[in-house]
Protein backbone atom coordinates (compact mmCIF):
# COMPACT_ATOMS: atom_id res chain seq x y z
CA UNK A 1 0.00 0.00 0.00
CA UNK A 2 1.72 3.13 -1.15
CA UNK A 3 1.42 6.49 0.53
CA UNK A 4 -0.77 8.99 -1.33
CA UNK A 5 1.65 11.11 -3.34
CA UNK A 6 2.40 14.54 -2.03
CA UNK A 7 3.93 17.33 -4.02
CA UNK A 8 6.90 19.39 -2.94
CA UNK A 9 8.09 22.70 -4.27
CA UNK A 10 11.44 23.49 -2.80
CA UNK A 11 14.61 21.50 -3.15
CA UNK A 12 16.60 21.26 0.10
CA UNK A 13 19.60 19.23 -0.96
CA UNK A 14 21.08 18.45 -4.34
CA UNK A 15 23.77 15.86 -4.90
CA UNK A 16 25.65 16.35 -8.16
CA UNK A 17 28.01 13.85 -9.79
CA UNK A 18 29.44 12.60 -6.54
CA UNK A 19 32.26 10.08 -6.87
CA UNK A 20 34.02 8.60 -3.87
CA UNK A 21 36.83 6.07 -3.67
CA UNK A 22 38.97 4.60 -0.92
CA UNK A 23 42.32 3.69 -2.32
CA UNK A 24 41.42 1.52 -5.26
CA UNK A 25 37.85 0.81 -4.25
CA UNK A 26 35.17 2.97 -5.87
CA UNK A 27 32.38 3.38 -3.36
CA UNK A 28 30.29 5.84 -5.37
CA UNK A 29 30.33 6.65 -9.08
CA UNK A 30 28.73 9.78 -10.46
CA UNK A 31 25.68 9.91 -8.23
CA UNK A 32 23.15 12.71 -8.69
CA UNK A 33 19.78 13.19 -7.07
CA UNK A 34 17.89 15.74 -5.05
CA UNK A 35 15.86 15.84 -1.86
CA UNK A 36 12.85 18.13 -1.68
CA UNK A 37 12.03 20.07 1.44
CA UNK A 38 9.55 18.22 3.62
CA UNK A 39 9.67 14.89 1.82
CA UNK A 40 10.62 11.45 3.00
CA UNK A 41 13.34 10.18 0.64
CA UNK A 42 14.54 6.61 0.81
CA UNK A 43 17.88 5.27 -0.42
CA UNK A 44 17.79 1.57 -1.07
CA UNK A 45 20.04 -1.01 -2.64
CA UNK A 46 21.79 -4.29 -1.95
CA UNK A 47 24.52 -4.49 0.68
CA UNK A 48 27.70 -2.71 -0.26
CA UNK A 49 25.92 -0.45 -2.72
CA UNK A 50 27.34 2.66 -1.10
CA UNK A 51 24.28 3.91 0.75
CA UNK A 52 26.01 4.69 4.05
CA UNK A 53 28.89 6.25 2.15
CA UNK A 54 26.40 8.54 0.46
CA UNK A 55 25.01 9.69 3.81
CA UNK A 56 28.53 10.15 5.09
CA UNK A 57 29.23 12.46 2.17
CA UNK A 58 26.11 14.47 2.86
CA UNK A 59 27.06 15.15 6.43
CA UNK A 60 30.68 15.81 5.73
CA UNK A 61 32.31 12.76 7.23
CA UNK A 62 33.63 11.49 3.89
CA UNK A 63 34.95 13.89 1.28
CA UNK A 64 34.10 12.88 -2.27
CA UNK A 65 36.85 13.16 -4.83
CA UNK A 66 34.46 14.63 -7.39
CA UNK A 67 31.13 16.36 -7.40
CA UNK A 68 29.38 18.85 -5.18
CA UNK A 69 26.54 19.02 -2.72
CA UNK A 70 24.18 21.98 -2.67
CA UNK A 71 22.39 22.45 0.64
CA UNK A 72 19.95 25.28 1.25
CA UNK A 73 21.16 26.97 -1.87
CA UNK A 74 24.86 26.94 -1.03
CA UNK A 75 27.05 24.71 -3.17
CA UNK A 76 30.12 23.18 -1.62
CA UNK A 77 32.61 20.49 -2.45
CA UNK A 78 33.34 19.53 1.10
CA UNK A 79 31.95 20.32 4.51
CA UNK A 80 33.26 19.43 7.96
CA UNK A 81 30.92 17.30 10.08
CA UNK A 82 30.28 19.92 12.70
CA UNK A 83 29.49 22.45 9.98
CA UNK A 84 26.86 20.07 8.68
CA UNK A 85 25.43 19.88 12.19
CA UNK A 86 25.45 23.65 12.49
CA UNK A 87 23.55 23.88 9.20
CA UNK A 88 20.77 21.71 10.56
CA UNK A 89 21.69 18.22 9.41
CA UNK A 90 21.36 15.46 12.00
CA UNK A 91 21.79 11.74 11.63
CA UNK A 92 21.65 8.31 13.13
CA UNK A 93 24.08 5.51 12.43
CA UNK A 94 23.94 1.96 11.23
CA UNK A 95 26.07 0.68 14.11
CA UNK A 96 24.75 2.82 16.90
CA UNK A 97 27.06 5.69 17.79
CA UNK A 98 25.81 6.62 21.22
CA UNK A 99 28.06 7.82 24.02
CA UNK A 100 28.22 4.72 26.14
CA UNK A 101 29.52 6.34 29.28
CA UNK A 102 26.49 8.61 29.59
CA UNK A 103 22.83 8.13 30.44
CA UNK A 104 19.95 8.39 27.99
CA UNK A 105 19.14 11.87 29.21
CA UNK A 106 22.72 13.06 28.85
CA UNK A 107 23.03 11.56 25.39
CA UNK A 108 19.97 13.39 24.17
CA UNK A 109 21.13 16.57 25.91
CA UNK A 110 24.28 16.42 23.78
CA UNK A 111 21.96 16.86 20.83
CA UNK A 112 21.21 20.34 22.18
CA UNK A 113 24.89 21.14 22.39
CA UNK A 114 24.99 23.60 19.51
CA UNK A 115 22.42 25.79 21.21
CA UNK A 116 24.08 25.94 24.60
CA UNK A 117 26.54 28.76 24.88
CA UNK A 118 27.25 29.65 28.46
CA UNK A 119 31.02 29.65 28.84
CA UNK A 120 33.37 28.07 31.35
CA UNK A 121 33.01 30.70 34.03
CA UNK A 122 29.22 30.49 34.17
CA UNK A 123 29.38 26.72 34.01
CA UNK A 124 31.72 26.67 36.98
CA UNK A 125 29.39 28.87 38.93
CA UNK A 126 26.29 27.05 37.72
CA UNK A 127 23.83 29.22 39.64
CA UNK A 128 22.16 31.81 37.48
CA UNK A 129 22.52 31.88 33.69
CA UNK A 130 24.03 28.41 33.29
CA UNK A 131 21.37 26.75 35.41
CA UNK A 132 18.62 28.54 33.54
CA UNK A 133 20.04 27.51 30.19
CA UNK A 134 20.33 23.92 31.35
CA UNK A 135 16.70 23.86 32.48
CA UNK A 136 15.46 25.47 29.28
CA UNK A 137 17.11 22.82 27.15
CA UNK A 138 16.11 20.07 29.56
CA UNK A 139 12.50 20.98 28.82
CA UNK A 140 13.03 20.50 25.09
CA UNK A 141 14.79 17.20 25.68
CA UNK A 142 11.99 16.00 27.93
CA UNK A 143 9.53 16.68 25.12
CA UNK A 144 11.64 14.49 22.84
CA UNK A 145 11.75 11.81 25.53
CA UNK A 146 7.97 11.93 25.85
CA UNK A 147 7.56 11.77 22.10
CA UNK A 148 9.72 8.66 21.88
CA UNK A 149 8.20 7.09 25.01
CA UNK A 150 11.53 6.45 26.75
CA UNK A 151 10.85 8.14 30.08
CA UNK A 152 11.52 4.99 32.03
CA UNK A 153 15.13 4.74 30.88
CA UNK A 154 16.11 8.35 31.34
CA UNK A 155 18.92 7.75 33.80
CA UNK A 156 20.09 4.39 32.54
CA UNK A 157 23.59 4.33 30.99
CA UNK A 158 22.94 3.66 27.33
CA UNK A 159 25.48 0.85 27.19
CA UNK A 160 23.07 -1.23 29.26
CA UNK A 161 20.04 -0.73 27.03
CA UNK A 162 18.76 -3.31 24.57
CA UNK A 163 19.48 -2.67 20.91
CA UNK A 164 16.01 -1.43 19.95
CA UNK A 165 15.94 1.13 22.74
CA UNK A 166 19.43 2.32 21.87
CA UNK A 167 18.25 3.02 18.35
CA UNK A 168 15.40 5.03 19.78
CA UNK A 169 17.73 7.03 22.01
CA UNK A 170 19.92 7.75 19.02
CA UNK A 171 16.89 9.03 17.14
CA UNK A 172 16.13 11.17 20.18
CA UNK A 173 19.59 12.68 20.08
CA UNK A 174 19.15 13.56 16.44
CA UNK A 175 15.69 15.02 17.04
CA UNK A 176 16.88 17.11 19.97
CA UNK A 177 18.95 19.13 17.56
CA UNK A 178 15.72 20.24 15.82
CA UNK A 179 17.23 19.47 12.42
CA UNK A 180 15.96 20.51 9.03
CA UNK A 181 17.36 17.42 7.38
CA UNK A 182 17.35 14.12 9.25
CA UNK A 183 19.54 11.32 7.88
CA UNK A 184 18.57 7.89 9.18
CA UNK A 185 20.90 4.98 8.47
CA UNK A 186 18.88 1.76 8.76
CA UNK A 187 16.81 2.96 11.71
CA UNK A 188 14.83 -0.27 11.82
CA UNK A 189 17.60 -2.81 11.45
CA UNK A 190 17.30 -5.65 13.89
CA UNK A 191 13.82 -4.73 15.09
CA UNK A 192 10.73 -6.91 15.31
CA UNK A 193 7.43 -5.97 13.73
CA UNK A 194 6.11 -4.04 16.70
CA UNK A 195 9.29 -2.03 17.11
CA UNK A 196 9.30 -1.26 13.41
CA UNK A 197 5.76 0.02 13.58
CA UNK A 198 6.71 2.26 16.48
CA UNK A 199 9.73 3.58 14.61
CA UNK A 200 7.66 4.24 11.45
CA UNK A 201 5.19 6.12 13.54
CA UNK A 202 7.93 8.26 15.05
CA UNK A 203 9.49 9.02 11.69
CA UNK A 204 6.19 9.98 10.11
CA UNK A 205 5.21 12.07 13.12
CA UNK A 206 8.45 13.98 12.94
CA UNK A 207 7.94 14.65 9.26
CA UNK A 208 4.31 15.61 9.83
CA UNK A 209 4.55 17.77 12.93
CA UNK A 210 7.83 19.54 12.39
CA UNK A 211 8.13 19.38 8.63
CA UNK A 212 11.55 17.80 8.97
CA UNK A 213 12.93 16.48 5.72
CA UNK A 214 13.91 12.85 6.08
CA UNK A 215 16.40 10.80 4.10
CA UNK A 216 16.54 7.22 5.19
CA UNK A 217 18.39 4.07 4.25
CA UNK A 218 16.24 1.02 4.73
CA UNK A 219 16.17 -2.61 3.70
CA UNK A 220 12.60 -3.45 4.59
CA UNK A 221 10.73 -2.92 1.31
CA UNK A 222 7.37 -2.78 3.05
CA UNK A 223 8.52 0.15 5.14
CA UNK A 224 10.07 1.90 2.18
CA UNK A 225 7.00 1.57 0.00
CA UNK A 226 4.75 2.65 2.85
CA UNK A 227 6.37 5.75 4.17
CA UNK A 228 8.59 7.25 1.50
CA UNK A 229 7.62 9.83 -1.08
CA UNK A 230 10.46 9.08 -3.46
CA UNK A 231 13.18 6.45 -3.67
CA UNK A 232 16.77 6.38 -4.96
CA UNK A 233 18.21 2.99 -5.78
CA UNK A 234 21.97 2.34 -5.66
CA UNK A 235 23.87 -0.72 -6.76
CA UNK A 236 27.67 -1.15 -6.77
CA UNK A 237 28.01 2.58 -6.20
CA UNK A 238 25.92 3.59 -9.20
CA UNK A 239 22.40 4.98 -9.32
CA UNK A 240 20.02 2.61 -11.04
CA UNK A 241 16.66 4.09 -10.14
CA UNK A 242 15.04 7.30 -8.95
CA UNK A 243 11.33 7.91 -8.57
CA UNK A 244 8.15 7.24 -6.64
CA UNK A 245 7.83 3.86 -4.88
CA UNK A 246 5.23 2.47 -7.27
CA UNK A 247 7.45 3.04 -10.28
CA UNK A 248 10.60 1.75 -8.57
CA UNK A 249 8.83 -1.38 -7.43
CA UNK A 250 8.26 -2.40 -11.01
CA UNK A 251 11.57 -1.27 -12.49
CA UNK A 252 13.41 -4.20 -14.06
CA UNK A 253 16.88 -2.96 -13.27
CA UNK A 254 16.00 -2.66 -9.59
CA UNK A 255 14.48 -6.12 -9.49
CA UNK A 256 17.57 -7.55 -11.19
CA UNK A 257 19.88 -5.85 -8.70
CA UNK A 258 18.07 -7.34 -5.74
CA UNK A 259 17.78 -10.77 -7.28
CA UNK A 260 21.43 -10.71 -8.23
CA UNK A 261 21.09 -10.97 -11.99
CA UNK A 262 24.41 -9.87 -13.46
CA UNK A 263 24.22 -6.73 -15.51
Amino acid sequence: MAAPSRSFNEVLLTVENISLSFGGVKALTDISFDIAKGEVRAIIGPNGAGKSSMLNCINGFYHPQQGAITYKGIKRARMRPHEAAEQGIARTFQNIALFRGMSTLDNIMTGRNLRMNRGLFWQALRLGPAEREEIEHRKVVERVIDFLEIQHIRKVPVGQLPYGLQKRVELGRALAAEPELLLLDEPMAGMNLEEKQDMCRFVLDVNDEFGTTICLIEHDMGVVMDISDRVVVLDYGKKIGDGVPDVIKNDQAVIDAYLGVSH
Binding site: N59, G60, F61, R80, P81, H82, A84, A85, E86, A90, R91, F93, A97, L98, F99, R100, G101, M102, D106, M109, T110, G111, R112, N113, L114, M116, R118, L120, Q123, A124, L125, R126, A130, E131, E133, E134, I135, H137, R138, K139, E142, R173, A174, A177
Partner: protein
Protein backbone atom coordinates in the same frame (compact mmCIF):
# COMPACT_ATOMS: atom_id res chain seq x y z
CA UNK B 1 17.54 0.73 54.24
CA UNK B 2 19.72 3.53 55.47
CA UNK B 3 20.23 4.72 51.93
CA UNK B 4 16.64 4.53 50.81
CA UNK B 5 15.72 7.04 48.15
CA UNK B 6 12.03 6.23 48.31
CA UNK B 7 9.93 9.25 49.15
CA UNK B 8 12.41 11.73 47.73
CA UNK B 9 10.54 13.16 44.78
CA UNK B 10 12.01 15.79 42.56
CA UNK B 11 9.41 18.36 41.61
CA UNK B 12 11.56 20.47 39.36
CA UNK B 13 14.33 19.92 36.86
CA UNK B 14 16.51 22.04 39.06
CA UNK B 15 16.10 19.64 41.95
CA UNK B 16 16.71 16.68 39.67
CA UNK B 17 19.89 18.25 38.36
CA UNK B 18 21.38 19.20 41.71
CA UNK B 19 24.88 18.12 42.59
CA UNK B 20 23.71 15.77 45.30
CA UNK B 21 20.11 14.96 44.53
CA UNK B 22 19.80 12.37 47.28
CA UNK B 23 19.31 13.79 50.76
CA UNK B 24 21.61 11.27 52.43
CA UNK B 25 24.43 12.25 50.09
CA UNK B 26 23.96 15.92 50.88
CA UNK B 27 24.06 15.20 54.58
CA UNK B 28 27.19 13.10 54.39
CA UNK B 29 29.06 15.58 52.24
CA UNK B 30 28.17 18.52 54.43
CA UNK B 31 29.11 16.54 57.50
CA UNK B 32 32.47 15.62 56.01
CA UNK B 33 33.15 19.22 55.06
CA UNK B 34 32.22 20.34 58.54
CA UNK B 35 34.58 17.80 60.08
CA UNK B 36 37.34 18.71 57.66
CA UNK B 37 37.11 22.43 58.30
CA UNK B 38 36.00 22.61 61.91
CA UNK B 39 37.00 19.45 63.76
CA UNK B 40 40.31 18.38 62.24
CA UNK B 41 42.19 21.59 63.11
CA UNK B 42 41.66 20.84 66.76
CA UNK B 43 42.70 17.21 66.76
CA UNK B 44 45.42 16.78 64.18
CA UNK B 45 49.07 16.75 65.13
CA UNK B 46 51.80 18.38 63.10
CA UNK B 47 52.98 15.02 61.82
CA UNK B 48 49.51 14.13 60.59
CA UNK B 49 49.25 17.49 58.86
CA UNK B 50 52.56 17.22 57.06
CA UNK B 51 52.54 13.53 56.29
CA UNK B 52 48.90 12.91 55.49
CA UNK B 53 46.45 15.77 55.37
CA UNK B 54 48.24 18.48 53.42
CA UNK B 55 49.69 16.22 50.71
CA UNK B 56 46.36 14.43 50.32
CA UNK B 57 44.40 17.63 49.90
CA UNK B 58 46.82 19.18 47.40
CA UNK B 59 47.33 16.02 45.39
CA UNK B 60 43.56 15.47 45.36
CA UNK B 61 43.26 18.80 43.57
CA UNK B 62 45.89 17.73 41.05
CA UNK B 63 44.17 14.38 40.62
CA UNK B 64 40.86 16.11 39.95
CA UNK B 65 42.64 18.12 37.28
CA UNK B 66 44.13 15.04 35.68
CA UNK B 67 40.79 13.26 35.87
CA UNK B 68 39.20 16.08 33.89
CA UNK B 69 41.64 15.40 31.10
CA UNK B 70 41.96 11.62 31.26
CA UNK B 71 38.71 10.51 32.84
CA UNK B 72 36.17 12.93 31.43
CA UNK B 73 37.75 13.85 28.12
CA UNK B 74 39.67 10.66 27.45
CA UNK B 75 43.00 12.33 26.61
CA UNK B 76 45.97 10.49 28.06
CA UNK B 77 48.55 12.64 29.78
CA UNK B 78 51.87 11.56 31.23
CA UNK B 79 53.06 15.12 31.64
CA UNK B 80 51.07 16.26 34.65
CA UNK B 81 54.18 16.51 36.81
CA UNK B 82 55.60 19.15 34.51
CA UNK B 83 52.36 21.11 34.68
CA UNK B 84 52.51 21.13 38.44
CA UNK B 85 55.99 22.51 37.95
CA UNK B 86 54.73 25.20 35.60
CA UNK B 87 52.28 26.33 38.25
CA UNK B 88 54.93 26.30 40.95
CA UNK B 89 57.54 28.24 39.00
CA UNK B 90 54.99 30.65 37.59
CA UNK B 91 53.77 31.48 41.08
CA UNK B 92 57.36 31.82 42.23
CA UNK B 93 58.21 34.21 39.43
CA UNK B 94 55.14 36.27 40.18
CA UNK B 95 56.16 36.65 43.80
CA UNK B 96 59.69 37.59 42.74
CA UNK B 97 58.81 40.11 40.04
CA UNK B 98 55.58 41.47 41.50
CA UNK B 99 56.29 41.31 45.23
CA UNK B 100 53.34 43.50 46.13
CA UNK B 101 50.99 40.71 45.14
CA UNK B 102 49.77 38.45 47.90
CA UNK B 103 51.19 34.90 47.53
CA UNK B 104 47.70 33.45 47.24
CA UNK B 105 46.90 35.72 44.35
CA UNK B 106 50.07 34.47 42.72
CA UNK B 107 49.02 30.88 43.28
CA UNK B 108 45.70 31.56 41.59
CA UNK B 109 47.28 33.46 38.71
CA UNK B 110 49.78 30.67 38.17
CA UNK B 111 46.83 28.51 37.25
CA UNK B 112 46.18 30.72 34.25
CA UNK B 113 49.79 30.41 33.13
CA UNK B 114 49.57 26.66 33.42
CA UNK B 115 46.30 26.71 31.49
CA UNK B 116 47.89 28.69 28.67
CA UNK B 117 50.79 26.24 28.42
CA UNK B 118 48.33 23.39 28.69
CA UNK B 119 46.49 24.68 25.66
CA UNK B 120 49.73 24.85 23.69
CA UNK B 121 50.66 21.27 24.54
CA UNK B 122 47.08 20.25 23.94
CA UNK B 123 47.13 21.34 20.33
CA UNK B 124 48.76 18.08 19.17
CA UNK B 125 45.77 16.22 20.63
CA UNK B 126 43.74 17.53 17.74
CA UNK B 127 45.66 15.26 15.44
CA UNK B 128 47.10 12.59 17.71
CA UNK B 129 45.21 10.08 19.79
CA UNK B 130 45.67 7.33 22.32
CA UNK B 131 49.14 6.41 23.34
CA UNK B 132 50.67 8.57 20.64
CA UNK B 133 49.24 11.41 22.67
CA UNK B 134 50.78 9.88 25.78
CA UNK B 135 54.15 10.12 24.06
CA UNK B 136 53.48 13.73 23.11
CA UNK B 137 52.72 14.56 26.73
CA UNK B 138 55.99 12.91 27.72
CA UNK B 139 57.64 15.47 25.46
CA UNK B 140 56.06 18.14 27.64
CA UNK B 141 57.30 16.39 30.77
CA UNK B 142 60.90 16.08 29.65
CA UNK B 143 60.96 19.55 28.20
CA UNK B 144 59.68 20.83 31.53
CA UNK B 145 62.37 18.88 33.42
CA UNK B 146 65.02 20.49 31.28
CA UNK B 147 63.56 24.01 31.35
CA UNK B 148 63.18 24.12 35.13
CA UNK B 149 66.82 23.13 35.47
CA UNK B 150 68.55 24.89 32.61
CA UNK B 151 66.56 27.97 31.73
CA UNK B 152 68.02 30.19 34.35
CA UNK B 153 65.51 32.98 34.52
CA UNK B 154 62.78 30.55 35.58
CA UNK B 155 64.56 29.98 38.86
CA UNK B 156 65.67 33.59 39.05
CA UNK B 157 69.31 32.62 38.44
CA UNK B 158 69.60 30.77 41.71
CA UNK B 159 73.02 29.09 41.98
CA UNK B 160 71.83 26.02 43.84
CA UNK B 161 68.97 25.07 41.55
CA UNK B 162 66.41 25.18 44.32
CA UNK B 163 64.08 28.04 45.13
CA UNK B 164 62.18 29.17 48.19
CA UNK B 165 58.60 30.25 48.49
CA UNK B 166 57.76 33.49 50.24
CA UNK B 167 56.08 33.32 53.65
CA UNK B 168 52.36 32.90 53.44
CA UNK B 169 50.23 35.67 54.80
CA UNK B 170 46.89 37.26 54.17
CA UNK B 171 46.25 40.86 55.13
CA UNK B 172 48.97 40.59 57.73
CA UNK B 173 47.82 37.33 59.27
CA UNK B 174 50.65 34.82 59.29
CA UNK B 175 49.47 31.63 57.68
CA UNK B 176 52.56 29.50 57.89
CA UNK B 177 51.46 27.16 60.66
CA UNK B 178 50.55 23.61 59.64
CA UNK B 179 46.90 24.19 60.57
CA UNK B 180 46.72 27.31 58.45
CA UNK B 181 48.49 25.55 55.59
CA UNK B 182 45.99 22.75 55.75
CA UNK B 183 42.98 25.04 55.82
CA UNK B 184 44.27 27.10 52.91
CA UNK B 185 44.91 24.02 50.80
CA UNK B 186 41.52 22.60 51.76
CA UNK B 187 39.78 25.81 50.77
CA UNK B 188 41.41 25.87 47.35
CA UNK B 189 40.60 22.22 46.76
CA UNK B 190 36.98 22.41 47.87
CA UNK B 191 36.18 25.58 45.92
CA UNK B 192 37.94 24.48 42.72
CA UNK B 193 36.58 20.95 43.08
CA UNK B 194 33.07 22.33 43.32
CA UNK B 195 33.62 24.48 40.25
CA UNK B 196 34.83 21.48 38.29
CA UNK B 197 31.89 19.38 39.43
CA UNK B 198 29.58 22.08 38.10
CA UNK B 199 31.38 22.28 34.76
CA UNK B 200 31.28 18.53 34.39
CA UNK B 201 27.52 18.45 34.94
CA UNK B 202 26.87 20.98 32.23
CA UNK B 203 27.14 21.08 28.48
CA UNK B 204 30.92 21.45 28.40
CA UNK B 205 31.31 18.33 30.51
CA UNK B 206 29.00 16.47 28.17
CA UNK B 207 31.09 17.60 25.22
CA UNK B 208 34.18 16.19 26.92
CA UNK B 209 32.50 12.87 27.57
CA UNK B 210 31.18 12.73 24.03
CA UNK B 211 34.70 13.20 22.68
CA UNK B 212 35.92 10.52 25.05
CA UNK B 213 33.26 7.98 24.15
CA UNK B 214 33.13 8.43 20.39
CA UNK B 215 34.86 11.45 18.98
CA UNK B 216 33.65 10.90 15.44
CA UNK B 217 30.00 10.82 16.43
CA UNK B 218 30.60 13.82 18.67
CA UNK B 219 31.90 15.85 15.77
CA UNK B 220 28.99 14.79 13.64
CA UNK B 221 26.46 16.08 16.14
CA UNK B 222 28.22 19.38 16.23
CA UNK B 223 30.76 19.20 19.03
CA UNK B 224 33.82 21.13 17.91
CA UNK B 225 36.72 18.84 18.79
CA UNK B 226 39.13 21.76 19.11
CA UNK B 227 36.99 23.64 21.59
CA UNK B 228 36.22 20.55 23.64
CA UNK B 229 39.77 19.20 23.81
CA UNK B 230 41.45 22.53 24.41
CA UNK B 231 39.02 23.51 27.15
CA UNK B 232 39.71 20.15 28.78
CA UNK B 233 43.43 20.81 28.61
CA UNK B 234 42.93 24.35 29.88
CA UNK B 235 40.77 23.45 32.87
CA UNK B 236 42.90 20.44 33.69
CA UNK B 237 46.15 22.40 33.50
CA UNK B 238 44.67 25.21 35.57
CA UNK B 239 43.86 22.85 38.39
CA UNK B 240 47.14 20.98 38.14
CA UNK B 241 49.05 24.26 38.00
CA UNK B 242 47.35 25.63 41.09
CA UNK B 243 47.99 22.32 42.83
CA UNK B 244 51.64 22.59 41.84
CA UNK B 245 51.89 26.09 43.23
CA UNK B 246 50.22 24.95 46.45
CA UNK B 247 52.56 21.97 46.62
CA UNK B 248 55.55 24.28 46.33
CA UNK B 249 54.37 27.12 48.55
CA UNK B 250 52.32 25.34 51.17
CA UNK B 251 53.80 21.86 51.41
CA UNK B 252 57.44 22.02 50.35
CA UNK B 253 58.46 25.57 51.11
CA UNK B 254 61.56 25.17 49.01
CA UNK B 255 61.96 22.87 46.08
CA UNK B 256 63.98 21.63 43.11
CA UNK B 257 62.81 20.59 39.66
CA UNK B 258 62.92 16.95 40.70
CA UNK B 259 59.75 17.52 42.73
CA UNK B 260 57.84 17.67 39.46
CA UNK B 261 59.47 14.90 37.47
CA UNK B 262 57.98 11.91 35.74
CA UNK B 263 57.47 10.06 39.00
CA UNK B 264 55.01 12.75 40.01
CA UNK B 265 53.19 12.23 36.71
CA UNK B 266 52.94 8.51 37.38
CA UNK B 267 51.77 9.15 40.92
CA UNK B 268 48.92 11.35 39.70
CA UNK B 269 48.01 8.83 37.03
CA UNK B 270 47.85 6.07 39.61
CA UNK B 271 45.52 8.18 41.75
CA UNK B 272 43.21 8.72 38.85
CA UNK B 273 43.12 5.11 37.72
CA UNK B 274 42.79 3.56 41.15
CA UNK B 275 40.37 6.20 42.31
CA UNK B 276 38.24 5.97 39.22
CA UNK B 277 38.38 7.61 35.82
CA UNK B 278 35.62 10.12 35.26
CA UNK B 279 34.81 10.73 38.89
CA UNK B 280 35.60 13.68 41.13
CA UNK B 281 35.06 11.55 44.21
CA UNK B 282 37.38 8.99 42.68
CA UNK B 283 40.18 11.51 42.41
CA UNK B 284 39.91 12.29 46.09
CA UNK B 285 39.74 8.63 47.09
CA UNK B 286 42.69 7.86 44.86
CA UNK B 287 44.74 10.62 46.45
CA UNK B 288 43.97 9.38 49.95
CA UNK B 289 44.87 5.85 48.96
CA UNK B 290 48.14 6.69 47.24
CA UNK B 291 49.32 8.95 50.07
CA UNK B 292 48.46 6.44 52.76
CA UNK B 293 49.98 3.31 51.21
CA UNK B 294 53.66 4.32 51.58
CA UNK B 295 53.05 5.47 55.14
CA UNK B 296 51.31 2.24 55.94
CA UNK B 297 54.05 0.16 54.36
CA UNK B 298 56.75 2.07 56.18
CA UNK B 299 55.09 1.29 59.48
CA UNK B 300 53.95 -2.22 58.77
CA UNK B 301 56.67 -3.86 56.73
CA UNK B 302 59.73 -3.75 59.02
CA UNK B 303 57.92 -5.42 61.93
CA UNK B 304 56.43 -7.98 59.53
CA UNK B 305 59.86 -8.64 58.13
CA UNK B 306 61.30 -8.99 61.60
CA UNK B 307 58.78 -11.74 62.25
CA UNK B 308 60.42 -13.84 59.53
CA UNK B 309 63.92 -12.70 60.27
CA UNK B 310 64.21 -10.37 57.24
CA UNK B 311 65.67 -6.96 57.82
CA UNK B 312 63.75 -4.68 55.53
CA UNK B 313 65.57 -1.52 54.50
CA UNK B 314 63.88 1.65 53.31
CA UNK B 315 64.98 0.83 49.77
CA UNK B 316 63.17 -2.48 50.02
CA UNK B 317 60.10 -0.73 51.33
CA UNK B 318 60.09 1.49 48.27
CA UNK B 319 60.41 -1.58 46.05
CA UNK B 320 57.43 -3.11 47.77
CA UNK B 321 55.60 0.13 47.25
CA UNK B 322 56.28 -0.11 43.53
CA UNK B 323 55.13 -3.71 43.47
CA UNK B 324 51.93 -2.92 45.31
CA UNK B 325 51.11 0.09 43.13
CA UNK B 326 51.78 -1.92 40.01
CA UNK B 327 49.70 -4.84 41.18
CA UNK B 328 46.87 -2.52 42.23
CA UNK B 329 46.82 -0.82 38.84
CA UNK B 330 46.47 -4.15 37.11
CA UNK B 331 43.94 -5.31 39.67
CA UNK B 332 41.71 -2.29 39.25
CA UNK B 333 41.94 -2.30 35.49
CA UNK B 334 40.96 -5.96 35.40
CA UNK B 335 38.37 -6.08 38.13
CA UNK B 336 36.95 -2.60 38.40
CA UNK B 337 38.08 -0.15 35.75
CA UNK B 338 36.00 2.52 37.37
CA UNK B 339 38.09 2.29 40.47
CA UNK B 340 37.33 3.00 44.08
CA UNK B 341 34.53 5.36 43.10
CA UNK B 342 32.61 2.49 41.54
CA UNK B 343 33.27 0.28 44.54
CA UNK B 344 31.83 3.09 46.61
CA UNK B 345 28.64 3.37 44.57
CA UNK B 346 28.24 -0.40 44.64
CA UNK B 347 28.47 -0.19 48.42
CA UNK B 348 25.79 2.50 48.42
CA UNK B 349 23.57 0.26 46.29
CA UNK B 350 23.92 -2.46 48.88
CA UNK B 351 23.13 0.07 51.61
CA UNK B 352 19.76 0.61 49.99
CA UNK B 353 18.68 -2.75 51.27
CA UNK B 354 20.97 -3.47 54.18
CA UNK B 355 20.30 -4.93 56.71
CA UNK B 356 17.56 -6.65 54.77
CA UNK B 357 18.75 -9.41 52.42
CA UNK B 358 16.52 -8.49 49.50
Amino acid sequence: MIYREAGQYKASYQADQAIFPIAQDRFVVLALLAVAFLVVPFVASEYVYRAVLIPTVILALAAIGLNVLMGYCGQVSLGSGAFMGVGAYAAYNLTVHLPFLNPFVCILLSGFFAAAIGIVFGIPSLRIKGFYLAVATLAAQFFGDWAFLRVKWITNYTPSGSVNAPPLQLFGWDLSSPTANYLVALLFTVVLGLAVKNIVRGHIGRQWMAIRDMDIAAEIIGVRPMYAKLTAFAVSSFLIGVAGALWAFVYLGSWEPAAFDINRSFQLMFMVIIGGLGSILGSVLGAIFIVLIPIFLNQALPPLGALVGWKISTATVSHFEAMIFGALIVFFLVVEPHGLARLWSVAKEKLRLWPFPH
